[in-house]
Homo-oligomer: 226 residues x 2
DNA sequence: ACCTGAACACCGTTCAAGT
DNA sequence: ACCTGAACACCGTTCAAGT
């Protein structure tokens, strides 16, 4: 298994040691042979991301079997702790996922499950969407504008993410429904369905409100919540 | 100014286009000339990070002049929004800061100011520390274990961050005090002063508690906060 | 079906040499 | 003080050729 060897190499010596030539050497083969099995280095990196997602899914699957985890709160809590454990085993993973120019399908499926948990618990799609942003790096160890990626080299096609999602169709029912709802309700449709400024401020206020309870001296007047 | 040209190049064509040879070409010079002005490519990247931090500091300095911003909440809120604006101009910056093997001094100073704002508002150092983790990517656009970096290639020296901090001494009074307090109070000192598992769960519960208020259907029994 | 050698266009960097 | 050419050890990748 070439992917398994790649994960082992990245774990042992860091992602910068994962080189086509080095990976081939570990497999006792010439670098050019890898191109028969992989779609270049990008294919390799996409494979690594999928492998990590699968590892998290496996851990979450085990959690699901435990009857203790039926409540949305503990379900998400356990899920994120499981994801964190996997990331601690593969410290290169968050950075890799965050830097991939295209979002591997497994990541969408992962987020779809989170939205599913939230809406089943009584959250609206709008709040589920905000929760996704708020979780940020808690969910997969990296924080990025998932649904409107800035491709690091220009080309800010606003609709690309939406097109991607609807193309994926039935496999991601909750994400598709979420996007549909948000796009319909949007105050200014030209902004696209996801106004990341609003999401950012929502998360920020969530944290500031929560932290405020831990203050040990009285508020210096007029510190009402927003 | 070589740093200015580097920022312009990264802004225009992405960080992967920022190559010693390409940067030199933009400056009308040979690649080898850069080594006279820069400590290699690492020196260039460190310089980029410092430049971005300075840009944020400049924006925050302007905010400070506005008498509206005296309360900790609005002060931090405005600071993070300013940081976000800078990051939007330099989309490569969060990833770069997060991937740097060593943390540039300006980043420490930046966090020192945040801690200062928090303790002045009545937060304990312990909670200030947790707040720092909770803000995560809000503060600088990237999420990482700032104070115990995993250097992506092994070598997990637990005390390195603490040694760094104390060495920086008087320039970072609040950070130094925070580390001292936490190290003293630590239940298990062998863990180091920063138990990132605890920080992770604190942030997670902060978010889950905050989100719970937005649920639209009643809790399915027994959904007490933790 | 699977692997390979040679080659190409790139990297960052050193070093002795130029002005 | 500042710049340079040649060279080195690396990258990812193509392509025609082997078995």
């Amino acid at each position: 298994m070439v992917l398994h060897a790649a994960v082992a190499l990245a774990d042992a010596e860091g992602i910068q040691a994962l080189t086509m030539r080095r990976l081939a050497a570990d497999l006792g083969v010439e670098a050019m042979s890898l191109y028969y099995h992989l779609r270049g280095k990008d294919g390799l990196l996409d494979g690594l991301v999928e492998a990590v997602i699968e590892e998290i899914d496996a851990a979450v699957g085990r959690l699901r079997k435990d009857p203790i985890n039926t409540e949305w709160r503990t379900l998400l809590r356990q899920r994120f702790l499981a994801a964190r454990n996997v990331m601690l085993r593969h410290p290169w993973a968050p950075g890799l996922i965050g830097s991939r120019p295209t979002i591997p399908a497994g990541v969408y499926a992962y987020y779809d499950e989170i939205v599913s948990t939230l809406v089943d618990a009584g959250f609206s799609y709008r709040i589920a969407h905000r929760a996704l942003h708020a979780f940020g790096s808690m969910a997969l160890g990296f924080a990025q504008e998932i649904f409107r990626p800035v491709p690091a080299g220009g080309s800010t096609d606003v609709d690309v993410a939406e097109a991607d999602l609807t193309a994926m169709g039935d496999a991601l029912p909750h994400l598709v429904a979420m996007v549909a709802t948000e796009a319909h309700d949007a105050a200014d449709p030209t902004l696209g369905w996801c106004d990341s400024q609003v999401e950012f401020e929502f998360t920020l206020d969530l944290l500031l409100d929560g932290l405020d309870h831990f203050r040990e001296s009285p508020p210096p007047s007029g510190s009402a919540s927003r």
